[in-house]
């Protein structure tokens, strides 16, 4: 299909949630009011690591207006632990606390002020244990174990004859890189309302994966899936922070205890003590020939998953999957460990393990280029994977060549014609580049239902949560395209497990590809039904009928789709239903391999470094987004710009700081995120549309790639400007200044 044949696909149409959001009427979890609901307040542990000797909630319970206090003692007749891969997280702390801020108890009361007052009356006696709030201290042989040990997960793979290959290399490089703990700061903190009733649980929550929350609640409370309803209103930002199950089991248990609906609206501080990105330490050893040929790579990574596993298993795996980079090595040995520490549990965050891996591997690419005297772009091109290559042996080969994609970014940046102009002898400029491909972790399990009404309009049912990425609009565009009706005739219903069919999750840049296919198929199903009715009406074959502009036309005679529906039911009403099932055996044959697609990340940066203060100014940043086919180009750009800006945060200043397990900066005054003033002077996204994705119209996932390469591109640019190599993020002025000072000695 050529571009001209599309009606709405490929156009930057207005988001269908625009008016809701610009008018303030969009309902988020924080806006949900359920009649009779109580207000909850958590009782957090002040200590990062301690045994709980006793909890006395009698004073709190005696306070007028208090309905219930939930402690470990109340976790009876139910499963007590939850978690996506390892069910190691107690609903409230049991016997032991593993990070500062871990909920030890929770209060439900008539109003928030009463709940807050009661929370302060809960008396907890602790026996402090020594705390390890970073990788180094948690890995000490005599570190106090946080769980059975401090090792959470181990992962690795190998191919080739690594040791022999290293022995035959001209040069071997070994470097270690550090990536900090960072926080998503989705602007809506985790918020949840649960009504636990005798035969059902109703939940309104800011969750990205409502169906996984449903399954978790059903398991915990021994209910069937049909008894648990999870509604996700608009979500005020996700970026992974609201993936899997977070506060829902606690609120459900508290609602059961209180005998009424309970609302927990966390503060930003509480959410900063709920989830974060994994800090990482990655060591890469790379063997090369003098001509720049990459021969062997060995990587050892540690990721800090905090007090509980959360998504630590997958992140441990993903950093290893992504650290080899977009290059061909015949010999690879990769190993990674997830480590428990006494800090906020670490979960998903936009491209899990991706920024950590790329920070290491793409910084080292430039280190190698410098040492060999080879242009860093040429070194990359020499070793870059091509279409059909397996960057990870046994996994899906690359869908398209990377070199032309890199070139698009370089051209937009003006890389080849760059002329360096330093403003002064101590204020220097330079350019840097980085690229990677990341395996989407998406499972191909999505379903959609399309109802087609008797007036020619349609309602599309999706489980994809609207977290800002604009999926509702994209799904509407796909449905309108396939139903051959105007976009304005489409309504999208999302994220109520009682109403919409199953979708595994909203994450891993999966929705346009996988839910997009489900909606596409459901719409095609409806269209085929319409054509069958029309064929009967016109007494011809379905393939003789043209479907366009809401009408079926045969030999110059037309009938509206609505009229066809009415004719079928023989009256004024009725409706058609179309369904779309996406499994790995999808009819397209494009979903059989893992990963479902490779997401491409490319970035080029120009910086200006003030050597006297260490201040780095990002003058220009050109990013790339490779959606295969951009169904809504401005939204694709917006995803990429937002991802790159988040990366500017973790590259330049964002860092959660812990000292002996105490979280030092759990608020937005002391934890700084990017503002308007951090916009690079020039900030561009190149859209790459080669139609090489497995999704509808050759599309594939985007939204994570933009966050992957910013840090190494900036660090490479700083090196280009100053000759100083930084191996630890964030690149704060002090860190840069110290590195420059050290280089002078």
């Amino acid at each position: 299909m050529t571009q001209q044949e599309f009606n709405t696909v490929g156009q930057s149409v207005r988001r269908i949630d625009s008016y809701d959001k610009i008018s303030g009427r969009a309902v988020y979890s924080v806006d949900v009011v359920v009649p009779g609901m109580a207000y909850a307040k958590l009782v957090p542990s002040p200590l990062p690591h301690a045994l709980i000797k006793s909890i006395d909630a009698s004073k709190a319970r005696a306070l007028p207006g208090v309905y219930a206090v939930l402690t470990a003692a109340e976790l009876v007749n139910m499963e007590t632990h939850y978690g996506s891969d390892k069910k190691d997280r107690p609903i409230v702390a049991m016997n032991k606390v593993r990070f500062q801020g871990e909920p030890v108890a929770a209060v439900a009361a008539v109003d928030l002020a009463t709940a807050e007052a009661a929370a302060e009356l809960v008396e907890v006696e602790y026996e402090a244990l020594s705390a390890a709030s970073d990788l180094t201290s948690a890995l000490l042989p005599d570190a106090e174990p946080i769980h059975d040990s401090n090792y959470c997960h181990e992962y690795g793979y190998e191919w080739g004859d690594v040791d022999a290959a290293f022995a035959g290399c001209d040069r071997i490089f070994e470097d270690t890189f550090l990536f900090p703990m960072v926080y998503h700061y989705a602007m809506e903190p985790h918020t949840c309302v649960v009504s636990y009733e005798h035969d059902r649980i109703r939940t309104w929550t800011s969750a990205q994966h409502p169906f996984l929350v449903r399954a978790e609640l059903a398991r915990i409370f021994g209910m069937q899936l049909d008894q648990v309803q999870v509604v996700v209103p608009y979500v005020g930002g996700g970026y992974g922070s609201k993936s899997y199950t977070k506060i829902e089991p606690l609120v459900a248990a508290l609602s059961r205890e209180a005998g009424r609906p309970v609302r927990l609206a966390q503060s930003v501080e509480e959410s900063m003590k709920t989830v974060r990105r994994h800090a990482a330490r990655a060591t890469i050893r790379t063997g090369v020939m003098n001509d720049g040929t990459f021969v062997a790579r060995e990587c050892l990574s540690y990721v800090d998953t905090g007090g509980y596993t959360d998504n630590g298993v997958r992140v441990t795996e993903r950093i290893s999957d992504r650290i080899v980079g977009p290059y061909i090595f015949d010999n690879v040995r990769v190993k990674s460990y997830g480590i428990y520490t006494n800090s906020t549990p670490a979960g998903s965050f936009r491209s899990i393990g991706g920024p950590q891996a790329s920070w290491a591997c793409e910084s080292q690419t430039d280190i190698i280029a410098e040492a060999l005297g080879i242009d860093p772009i040429q070194l990359r091109l020499k070793n870059l994977a091509k279409k059909g290559d397996e960057v990870r042996r046994g996994k899906r080969p690359l869908e398209g060549d990377l070199a032309p994609k890199l070139q698009m970014v370089l051209d937009k940046f003006g890389w080849d014609n760059y002329v360096r102009e330093d403003p002064s002898p101590t204020v220097k400029r330079g350019i840097g580049f980085a690229c990677n491909v990341t395996n989407s972790g998406a499972s191909p399990t999505s379903t959609s239902l399309v109802r087609f009404h008797a007036d020619g309009s349609s309602t599309v049912y999706i489980g994809t949560t609207e977290i800002g990425q604009g999926s509702r609009s994209v799904m509407a565009q796909i449905a309108a395209e396939e139903l051959r009706i105007p976009l304005a005739s489409i309504k999208v219903i999302g994220s109520d497990t009682d109403a919409v069919p199953y979708d595994r999750s909203t994450g891993s840049s999966r929705s346009t590809t996988l839910m997009g296919l489900a909606v596409h198929d459901a719409a095609v199903d409806v269209r085929e039904q319409l054509l069958e009715i029309a064929a009967k009406h016109f007494e011809t074959f379905a393939d003789q009928i043209e479907a366009a502009d809401g009408k079926a036309t045969f030999k110059g005679e037309s009938m509206t789709f609505g009229a066809l529906v009415r004719e079928m039911f023989g009256g004024s009403g009725g409706e058609l239903m179309g369904r779309g099932y996406v499994t790995q055996n999808h009819a397209s044959g494009r979903l059989t391999q893992d990963p479902v697609f490779w997401e491409v990340s490319i970035g080029a940066a120009e910086v200006e470094v003030d050597e006297d203060t260490g201040t780095v100014k990002l003058l220009r940043y050109v990013s790339a987004s490779d959606p295969g086919k951009a169904i809504n180009p401005k939204q694709v750009e917006g995803q990429d710009e937002g991802a790159a800006m988040q990366a500017i945060g973790h590259s330049m200043f964002e860092e959660m700081l812990f000292e002996d397990g105490q979280f030092l900066n759990p608020n937005l005054v002391d934890y700084r995120v990017p503002t308007f003033e951090d916009l690079p002077g020039e900030f561009e996204t190149v859209l790459i549309e080669f139609g090489d994705g497995p999704g509808p119209y050759g599309s594939k996932g985007v939204g994570e790639g933009g966050i992957v390469c910013v840090a190494p591109a900036i660090a490479n640019a700083i090196f280009n400007a100053t000759g100083v190599r930084l191996r630890e993020l964030p690149l704060t002025p002090e860190r840069v200044w110290r590195a420059i000072e050290k280089s002078k000695q």
Partner: protein
């Protein structure tokens, strides 16, 4: 000298209409608007006057409703996003946000629009740097800001042509 122990009556104008509501002294403006008047557009996020999600205009000036006490608006005019949305004269600004894809999750959007309105009220033709400077107190974690700058520029441009 007036002493208010528990209850204070706040009579003020909100989005063009006069209202009276009783609150306690410690009640934040955002809670009075959201819980008392069901104007849910203003959002509480950082709760420290950093993020701007709770921005409303008091006598035309943006403030952080998370921290400003409700009693401060006695006798004043408060504009919330609901008031902007109902005002046809504001369509140039709100349309510019929509058409430039300056909205993603939308949680910052009400505050962002009110801050932009306040900027354009004072400076109808802001430069890019002036936009970044004025808007630096409103955080958006989704868009990367570029499209919001473009939206404000377009709104200013349209107003000139208007």
């Amino acid at each position: 000298m007036v002493q208010i122990n528990q209850k204070i009556t706040v009579a003020f104008n909100v989005n063009g209409g006069d209202v009276e509501i009783d609150v306690t002294p410690e009640t934040a403006l955002v809670d009075m608007l959201r819980d008392g008047l069901l104007l849910k557009g203003a959002k509480r996020s950082c709760d420290m006057q950093v993020c701007g999600a709770c921005t409303v205009l008091v006598d035309g000036l943006p403030v952080s409703a998370c921290t400003v006490p409700a009693f401060e608006v006695r006798g004043k005019s408060v504009t919330t996003i609901e008031g902007v949305a109902a005002d046809d004269r504001m369509a140039g600004l709100t349309d510019a946000f929509i058409d430039n894809a300056a909205i993603q999750c939308g949680f910052c959007t009400p505050g962002m629009v009110l801050a932009a309105k306040s900027l354009l009220d004072r400076n109808p033709h802001p430069s890019e740097d002036e936009i970044k400077d004025y808007m630096r107190g409103n955080i958006c974690r989704c868009t990367g800001y570029k499209k919001i700058v473009e939206a404000i520029q377009e709104a200013a441009q349209k107003a000139v042509q208007g």
